[in-house]
């Protein structure tokens, strides 16, 4: 009975992460995208903490705490400020329409579940379902990176992709270095965010105009 409940809750949280990934796909404002991303990180944190509980692996609580503090609080706040300051909090450019992207996303989730279930027939049930959800989150993150043109939303796409990886690593029972890997990723993301901030990359690369940016900020102040 207890084992069943453990399994169901882990399942619920991992599935929740996939759902939140879908929610990110159709956000067309940067500020709401950042809010949904913060929620994504909260769900990840809960999911990792639950894994720490059922696997009896206290080091995973550290990973959960990093996800909560760094990705749910610090990064969305910092990015939110950048977005405000750059004055691009209104609309997100999408290359393909939302409907098509959602359909593609569903296809990717179906693909990853079919693939993982077939390939990992030998592994234990919790790990393989976790992995299937994790791969879905990774693929949805990639999808978001290719369909968005704005540097900030690409970063958000990358971070959601990385949340999928942390989910996979936490689900792999007894995997060493998970904490180190989540720290390494946090450093990477911090660098990206600092990069966005310092270099003031406004649109995607080809339309960066430093001079125009300076003028614009001068107007605001």
């Amino acid at each position: 009975m207890m084992a069943h409940l453990n399994f169901d809750i882990a399942h619920l949280l991992a599935g929740g992460l996939v759902l939140v990934s879908f929610m990110m796909i159709y956000q067309d404002r940067l500020s709401s995208l950042l809010d949904v991303f913060a929620f994504h990180a909260v769900v990840l944190s809960a999911s990792v903490a639950w894994q720490a509980h059922i696997q009896d692996a206290p080091h995973l609580y550290i990973t959960a705490a990093i996800a909560l503090i760094f990705k749910a609080l610090i990064i969305p706040t910092a990015l939110g400020r950048i977005v405000q300051r750059l004055g691009i909090h209104r609309e997100v450019e999408t290359v393909v329409g939302t409907g098509l992207t959602m359909l593609a996303g569903m296809g990717l989730v179906a693909l990853s579940i079919l693939l993982m279930m077939r390939v990992t027939a030998g592994a234990d049930a919790l790990a393989r379902e976790d992995l299937a959800f994790a791969l879905s989150v990774v693929l949805l993150g990639l999808l978001m990176m290719v369909t968005r043109r704005n540097a900030v939303s690409q970063v958000v796409g990358f971070m959601s992709l990385e949340n999928g990886l942390i989910l996979a690593a936490a689900g792999a029972k007894g995997m060493p270095l998970v904490v180190e890997i989540s720290v390494a990723f946090s450093v990477l993301i911090a660098f990206i965010v600092i990069g966005v901030f310092l270099f003031r990359i406004r649109e995607r690369f080809d339309t960066v105009d430093m001079g125009a940016m300076d003028d614009f900020r001068g107007e605001q102040q």
Binding site: V119, L131, A134, L135, A169, P176, I181, A184, V208
Partner: protein
Amino acid sequence: MSAVDAILLIPAIAAAILALLPGYRLSARLNMGASGLTFLAAVALLLLPRPGPSDYFLVDDLNIVFIVLNTFVGFTAATFSASYIGHEIETGRLTPVTLRFYHAMYQVMMFGMNMALLSNNIGLMWVSVELATLSTVLMVGLYRTHEALEAAWKYFILGSVGIALALFGTILVYMAAQPVLGEGTPSMVWTNLLAKAAQIDPGILNLAFVFLMLGYGTKVGLAPLHAWLPDAHAEGPTPISAVLSGLLLNVALYAVLRFKMLMTANPATLSPGPLMVAMGLASLLFAGLMLYRRRDIKRLFAYSSIEHMGIIVFAFGMGGPLANFAGLLHMVMHSLTKSSIFFSVGHIAQIKGSQRIAAIRGLTQSHPKLGWSLALGVLAIAGLPPFGVFLSEFLVVTSTFARAPGLALLLVLGLLLAFGALILRLTGFLFGEPEGSLAPAKASFVPIWAHMGLVLLAGIHLPGAMVAWFEAAAKLLG
């Protein structure tokens, strides 16, 4: 302190000192000294009896080739960098503060690459490759121009996605190994994985290899995942272009090879060869065509790197003792030749004040020494005898003809395409009316000629000891 410790500690300590040390002249010398010491430690590792594998580090016939090459080119590139940055300071493109950062990052990068090459733990390997990537990203963006930031950003995003996919592959390998090797660190140790490879679930391993190949393959610069490579080479400081082409691509390739060895050790898995052959050929042909339309000299040679990584991956994909030997030899020859070319190109671009191919003409008249150094490099990289690149390409082609003539034809087509493009450009560089500045070159020729001398030597006579060494490594690759 063992040689393994020295190879890791010297760059780590040097990075810390360089980060604190003001004054770029002293830093440049220290950077050179530290890289030289690391090279000596690598030579010691080669000559002394090897330590057995631990949970984190491993030294065998295969990675010692990579380590010696890595530290050697790291040292010569640091020597070149010392003369290169003097000019950058004079023209004001770099400031002493950015140089302090640059030197520290150079050693961080060397540390990351050496650790990746020495690691026996697939998790540690991943972390090290990420470290090396991050430090190079920062250096690519060093000039802070619009183009440099754009290149750094592109490299950053594509490199991060690559590294993320590689991590997913690494997790899958762990998941597959865990029922066989038990929970925790043992399941991430490469030597354990290899010993028990036959018992590991082949399905998960197949899937893992696809992710690893795409992930680390991005960093190798294989088509169609190469988009970051030309930009990163063209916009960063030239010593970094030399190190990117000569070393970082090899490190990523090394990671792919380690996982390929796991795959071949398990007979139930799909053969990794065809995937590698296909990606290698695609890179070769694509880069061969792209070489014709280049207008920037560093971009030209960046595409040539994609071409050569294609040949190397192709050779390793074919497998077998001869093709592996050829692939390994080609990798070493390419690293030496390509970094030597970038050293010459760095000085030429500094004198001319431009990287545009159209601006570089008549070097034999204006700067004969530099011009002929470049010419030697280009002739070698295009695959003309008597250079070592000819020998290794010849071996790749003949070993392929014996087994798959159809593929060999495509391979030869790609080689000829690249050959044509490079020779076409070379005549433009060397002859004609000199353009731009005629200022005498303050170049450091020692690294250029040291590399070319080695490549020439290998082409004329490959020493028996080296053949035996490479054969042992090729045998490990299976």
